[in-house]
């Protein structure tokens, strides 16, 4: 049994999900090779416990993102029975492309993986769960926060490979920088607002709480569709992002089925809504029946007090 893990990076360093990918691979046994596109995070990857080898893949093509150039560069280095990546938007693309080039099947966004391979994945954005059997070799992307991360203390050898690949996608201009704020798909805590917030300017109250918690701010489809100021990139739900944070705080969100599909797998859910019959309370671990105008200032105050004590 041998696994190739495609490392995830963000802002020039190794993303913590890489340890979860190694953790999932370790549970299956065998040797684990971690491939670092652009060489990003290779030193940190070598220190993850259980890693046998790190391949630091360097080349000009990694200075910009061209899915085909990346997958073409990485494919020849990917070997073994199993190829693992994160299920982030970019990694899914690269994994699909590598799988297609190698002629192996790909299964995305898996939340449980056992020998055989037997994989579990949510379908219809979590309205149902599917168990599939996939023979090796295959490519599988794993959902963040679904697998125990491997620890540190490793000392794997790092092999540097230089690649040269033509780019066919040229960036002409940056239109807007990636938000300074954390994206909902990256966050451990999310606070989301719905149409119950009354207006887009009232989202400032959610940002205030988010700043205290280091949380990302999300929105329901109703909010995104109603107010132009709330971008689709914030949308949580079946036609937006599926999220699995440790804590999801839903404020003024009634809980339409397509919203629940995108957030019900969160570890803990706190719902704040003035309507005691709102369906969101059906999936919430903690529910507070109150208006956001009353609840958010008190919540912020309590959090500040607790976190400073």
């Amino acid at each position: 049994m041998s696994t190739t893990v495609i490392a995830e990076s963000s802002n020039g360093s190794l993303h913590p999900i890489t340890s979860q990918l190694v953790g999932a691979a370790s549970a299956l046994g065998g040797s684990i090779t971690v491939i670092c596109p652009g060489g990003i995070g290779s030193t940190d990857a070598a220190q993850i416990s259980g890693v046998s080898k790190v391949i630091s893949v360097e080349g000009d093509c990694f200075h910009t993102y061209d899915c085909m150039a990346w997958s073409e560069s990485l494919s020849p280095l990917v070997e073994g029975d199993l190829i693992l990546s994160s299920s982030s938007a970019m990694s899914r693309e690269i994994l699909s492309s590598i799988a297609a080039k190698k002629g192996v099947p790909v299964v995305q966004d898996v939340t449980n993986l056992a020998e055989g391979f037997s994989a579990t994945r949510p379908i219809y954005s979590g309205k149902a769960i599917e168990e599939v059997r996939v023979p090796s070799p295959c490519a599988i992307s794993l959902r963040p926060n679904s697998f125990e991360p491997a620890g540190g203390g490793g000392d794997a050898e790092i092999v540097t490979v230089n690649v040269s690949q033509d780019i066919t996608v040229a960036v002409k201009q940056a239109l807007a920088k990636a938000g300074e704020r954390l994206d909902v798909s990256e966050a451990d805590i999310i606070i989301s607002g719905g149409r119950g917030m009354g207006g887009p300017s009232n989202f400032s109250h959610l940002y205030e709480v988010a700043d205290v918690l280091g949380a990302a701010v999300g929105a329901s489809r109703a909010a995104v569709d109603t107010w132009d100021e709330i971008p689709h990139s914030m949308q949580v739900g079946q036609t937006g992002k599926t999220v699995t944070p440790n804590l999801y705080i839903a404020v003024g969100i009634s809980g339409a089925i397509q919203h629940l599909a995108g957030m019900r797998s969160s570890k803990y859910i706190l719902a704040i809504n003035k309507d005691p019959e709102a369906p969101i309370f059906g999936v919430a671990d903690y529910g507070i029946v109150a208006t956001w105008e009353e609840a958010l200032p008190v919540l912020k105050g309590q959090l500040l007090e607790m976190l400073s004590s």
């Binding site: 492309s97 297609a100 790909v106 002409k172 805590i189 089925i257």
Partner: protein, 252 residues
């Protein structure tokens, strides 16, 4: 020249999904729709056609019911319709990508558009997979395309933010939700669409072996019900809830 748009028929996102005997019960799904992100692909395909980039060929892969997607696409401006007739639920990613790639070749289009992921599996494997199978370039998470002097530019959400990229053909674009308003069919469009011929192709016609799927579905189940949570009325409960989030749930 020409734009092939790949459309997948999925249960409408408002549909309830029920599981019977370890399988999703498709007969209980009352409304099937074009997958939402594919609708943005279709809209942008028609816009590219209006900018002079040849015909729009709508392609779907699925059982008989999926042909409805093609009629809907024709009603808003698709010129040719190709239905790859198959029971797509039992196919693996390699087979689906092989079928769609063969259909794209059949269409002679050098631009391919589809949603960034479908609303049923949410996988997102098809666009980059088809691009790899065909040897096309691929640009993902696109919200808008335009063409000037034969060069296609796309607005995409890349790893470093929203950016404008240029790409040569042949290329696959996968679409995110953008600002583009989706056009609705008019009566004339709907009438014309019903008369438009659909080119039905089987896997044999396309020379793709679909007999052995590598991925086999063992079972479907409903998501585990959560035990009922604790519900409080009024903001007096906020300190207690914050305390539980810290000490019971350990999440803050």
């Amino acid at each position: 020249m020409g734009v092939a748009v790949l459309l997948k028929q999925v249960p409408d996102t408002t549909a309830k999904i029920s599981v019977t005997d370890g399988r999703v019960d498709e007969s209980s799904i009352t409304k099937w729709s074009i997958s939402p992100y594919d609708e943005y692909a279709l809209e942008n395909a028609i816009r590219l056609k209006e900018l002079g980039y040849g015909d729009v060929v709508a392609i779907t892969c699925g059982p008989a019911r999926s042909s409805k997607c093609l009629v809907e696409a024709a009603a808003v401006g698709a010129d040719k319709l190709i239905h790859v007739v198959t029971d797509s639920s039992s196919l693996d990613s390699i087979q689906i990508q092989a079928l769609l790639s063969a259909a794209v070749k059949e269409s002679s289009c050098d631009v391919v558009m589809c949603g960034k992921q479908a609303a049923d599996t949410n996988s997102g494997s098809t666009g980059p997979g088809v691009a790899s199978a065909l040897g096309y370039s691929c640009v993902g998470a696109v919200t808008e395309v335009s063409i000037e002097g034969g060069v296609i530019s796309a607005t995409r959400l890349g790893p470093s933010g929203l950016e404008e990229v240029e790409v040569g053909v042949p290329c696959v674009f996968t679409f995110d939700k953008g600002d583009a308003e989706l056009r609705r069919p008019n009566v004339r469009g709907i009438m014309m669409a019903k008369k438009k011929p659909i080119d039905s192709l089987t896997s044999d016609d396309l020379g793709v072996d679909t007999s052995n799927s590598a991925v086999s579905v063992e079972s479907h189940s409903s998501p585990p019900e959560k035990p009922p949570g604790k519900k409080f009325v009024g903001i007096e409960s906020v300190p207690e809830v914050v305390n539980m989030l810290r000490n019971d749930a350990n999440v803050i």
